[in-house]
């Protein structure tokens, strides 16, 4: 798990220029989106294939204030000429939108408004996000921005492996370690070698040679008994 925080009072334009610099749309964003954008940049900067479209990363943004800072700015503009550029940001999920557009994340995007910073509720939602059998990592952030000058911004990049208890014995491998999480309802990488199956590849959802020809349901535990290589 990676974590990052942008303290209140940080010069966001300066941070953008130092750490990013190649995305002028940054300056059109409202403060909440700037924070979300920067948190995401700092977390995924070093990712390989960074700008290749992917569906296996969910983006979850949490706050207490939602889009309040921009809501106020738009309301002010309504006094004479309502501003379309300000109206666009009067939704909490524009933060997830900006992150998704920049990074080409085509998976789940959700914005949650909470009573306060509640780590347990946040982790609850992160765990739920992994349940769709497609999500392999979650970019989550608490971006609370009641005004353009005050905020709390922190983010986490969580891989599905971060949720696994350490050293849990794998029944199908009789204690042998393996990669790929083929057990206990966790999905596995397509065509990844399964040590418990004696090295045979199989496609996700397909018949498993290690199970002696029996396939298993999408959400079922593997019945492979690893007795023989097939």
């Amino acid at each position: 798990m990676r974590t990052i925080e942008i303290p209140v009072g940080t010069d966001l334009a300066k941070l953008y220029r130092e750490q990013v610099g190649d995305y002028p749309k940054f300056f059109k964003m409202d403060t909440a989106c700037k924070l979300g954008f920067l948190v995401a940049e700092l977390l995924v900067k070093e990712d390989p294939d960074r700008f290749v479209t992917r569906e296996d990363r969910a983006v979850l943004v949490f706050s207490r204030s939602g889009s309040l800072a921009d809501d106020k700015n738009y309301a002010e503009s309504m006094k004479d000429f309502p501003s379309p550029a300000l109206f666009v940001y009067t939704l909490p999920n524009t933060v997830t939108g900006e992150i998704a557009i920049r990074n080409k994340y085509a998976g789940e995007t959700s914005a949650f408004v909470l009573e306060s910073f509640d780590p347990e509720q946040i982790l609850d939602q992160i765990v739920l996000a992994f349940q769709d059998r497609m999500t392999r990592s979650v970019l989550a952030a608490w971006i609370d921005c009641p005004s353009d000058e005050e905020w709390a911004a922190r983010g986490w990049l969580i891989d599905w492996r971060d949720l696994l208890p350490p050293e849990e014995e794998h029944r199908c491998c009789h204690g042998g370690g393996h990669g790929g999480g083929c057990c206990h309802h966790h999905h596995h990488e397509e065509s990844e070698e399964h040590h418990c199956c004696g090295g045979h590849h199989h496609e996700e959802g397909g018949e498993h040679c290690c199970c002696h020809g029996e396939d298993h349901g999408d959400s079922g535990e593997h019945h492979c008994h690893c007795k023989e290589n097939k």
Binding site: P24, K28, D80
Partner: protein
């Protein structure tokens, strides 16, 4: 007219948050939209429509009209000079 173009450039830079740009950076005849230009998008068209109404009393009916008028700073300035009511 030179004053008007300069004034427009300053307003455009401000309205569209074109950070770090000065009027000198914007060529009068350069296309405003598309990759070769300033890379403005559909929301920017709408903001420019608001800018024209707010500052010059000109009301454009649709975003399509906007795109025609905002082809370049020179085209925009000509249009404003011809149609301003403020």
């Amino acid at each position: 007219m030179k004053n008007l173009i300069n004034e427009l450039k300053l307003k455009v830079i401000d309205a569209l948050n074109l950070e770090g740009m000065t009027p000198e950076d914007i060529d009068n005849d350069a296309p405003l939209f598309g990759d070769e230009g300033l890379g403005l998008d559909s929301i920017d068209v709408l903001e420019l429509i608001v800018l024209l109404e707010k500052n010059y009393g000109i009301r454009l009916a649709t975003p399509a009209d906007g795109k025609k008028v905002f082809q370049s700073m020179a085209v925009m300035a000509d249009y404003v000079a011809a149609n301003r009511t403020k």
